[in-house]
Symmetry: D2
Subunit: 208 residues, 4 copies
DNA sequence: AATGCTCCAGCTGAGC
DNA sequence: GCTCAGCTGGAGCATT
């Protein structure tokens, strides 16, 4: 009776288009959902093993970010810290290095040599803040190795021998954490989420 | 007293209910939108003045967060840093203080005093890392004041005299930034967003 | 050198800008949140009175949409229905009028007079489908009034005397619902959400 | 117990866990993104072929919804329509069938036989509103077939012979649209988005 | 200027 | 009952 779309295979009709496209999309959506479930499973597994899913998510995000993403993130972080600092809201955390670097962009030629003002107990310029980028890969590697070594030897993370601003400070930290995360047979307690951070009072320190 | 008569106006009919409730909600939504627009204006103004809107948003968020929110945020930050450090992904930024604190929760009784290893150029334990919470409000205030003073005197932010781990380090930073943000008659360049971080090209990575 | 920025009131410093802007935004955000809570309360009240919050939300959205929004929405609705129809997925709901209108844009001059095929029980062209826009405001109003009247007289909603495609059909419905929603002293059961449509089984139709 | 060593290779260390989990998640996220891109491509293709992406999205959603989802959606739709009708906001679109069905749940025993009021031009009860569910699959299929036939014969969509409320009305519509979407060698104009089909108004779509 | 993409917050449904 | 994760809607941003 009715001639269907008979011979033309190359001219898809409107409803065929809709059918095939929607089917294809449905299939893709299902695959996507399946993968999303896998991801969820991975986080659940991490959680069950004692890791903090939220922190792990940060790691994932960091791993996936491009160079320009990283640059943007760092810039925003630096500016936020500067803004917060200017309001006295750092609440205990000093400026990060990228914020410091940024504030030094104009190298501040004024060099007023402050004499002693007897600032109460300030460790008087304890170390020459080593300029950035002056260390070779080898030196960085050595710092990292020493961090691992020190960790194994029982040194604490706060015993990092490198002063703030020294790039090797981060390397030592990395070595330390790497060792700490490798020697134990189980996840250290301090790597787990505090069971119930129900917070509340949260005992302020000097801040604000 | 009043019998259950029918002409009572106090028995709202279904459609009156719908009408009054929907009208009320519409009105509220409009108010909400108006305020949202005001907020948007504020950010636009900030931007036009040279501030970075995104960083300002962080400040706002910080100001609005409760004590428990802050505690949660800090915990996640600390754990993320630890995880990143263990993977060697700190990319230059050392662990923050809260991460360090967290890793010291079990005070690590093992105290192998490793002396010289001839670690290449490590500033040998330059300052005794002062224990947290040992400083009086007065001392903190002094550190902040000195930061402001030093800033005015031309000292750079990287000349912070307090070692990493010393709570006064953040206070000095605050004072410094406060001064830097107050003396100038205009917003410092380093407080502005880099004009066009359009990036992208920036060292392509493999990332698909 | 310069003590503080004491005198200059007209030159807001960077940190003053940040402080005032962030404070202002925080205040606005709080107001916004307060209103959002009011809205939530309104929905909760609606729910407690037996109305369906989700459906009410649709009403609110409809009330707030502009003419162009409405046009867009209708177009998408019409197209979706057409696409669904072409796939045989209408599952019981005939095309809406705007979909029909849209499909008649080219007035389809071809008028093949189909001879009788004795289509099983099809009510043979029961009414002349009245062209759109041919009714006066008065007639529309009369239809609405009659709907209300009929409702009060006990007629059911399915007894709408106007055929599909007649604009007065909607007006009669409106009158009917208006009356139904006004006469009762309480919200009709059919206006409430079915207590727990947890369903799932839900009388499999051809769907899926 | 065991002093310090770690003999077991099957006990992954903390950092190994983090590394493997985060890598796995990164990989999954990339796969997910890849699929999301495919979906985006499919929509773009649909658009380039003259289909409305938004409407297509509705179709996809409909295809993916479970029976209970569909039930919920229909309930909300019905209630919204009822609420809108009671406010006189139907703006031309009569109540859908599910709204009518819902309002008849209590079968309304009151049957006041209204006498003639000479309602201006109302088509006097043009057809017996056929009760739902009284039609066999065969009859439904016949209605669908007739819709297709009628479409091919040049009948317009508004010539649906089945009255509102008759389940075969939707079936006829489906048949009609199916035919309309199949006979043409190109997508009908009324199936395209009106205002902005900017690129290629069905320009040579020879490919594929 | 309009549009599409991306990100984020707020809301909703599940789960302990 | 509260929390939490997923999700949808909206806002900002880059683009054409």
């Amino acid at each position: 009776m009715i001639s269907k779309n008979s011979q033309t295979t190359d001219a898809p009709t409107a409803r065929e288009l809709i059918a095939s496209l929607s089917d294809r999309i449905v299939r893709l959506e299902e695959e996507k959902k399946s993968i999303a479930d896998d991801i969820k499973d991975a986080y659940a597994e991490a959680k069950s093993l004692g890791l903090d899913a939220k922190a792990l998510k940060v790691v994932v995000k960091r791993k996936m970010e491009s160079a320009s993403d990283a640059a943007k993130r760092k810039e925003t972080e630096a500016l936020s810290e500067i803004y917060l600092a200017s309001l006295g809201m750092l609440d205990g955390t000093p400026l990060g290095d990228s914020a410091r670097d940024r504030m030094e962009q104009p190298p501040a030629p004024a060099e007023d040599d402050r004499d002693d003002r007897g600032a109460s107990g300030a460790s008087e310029d304890p170390a020459p803040p080593p300029a950035r980028g002056v260390f070779t890969d080898e030196e960085m590697h050595a710092a990292r190795a020493r961090g691992a070594e020190d960790a194994t030897a029982g040194k604490r993370i706060i015993d990092n021998p490198f002063v703030a601003g020294d790039p090797r400070r981060a390397a030592w930290d990395e070595g330390h954490c790497q060792a700490k995360g490798s020697d134990g047979m189980d996840i250290p307690d301090s790597w787990r989420r505090a069971s119930k951070p129900k917070g509340g009072s949260a005992a302020g320190e000097g801040g604000q």
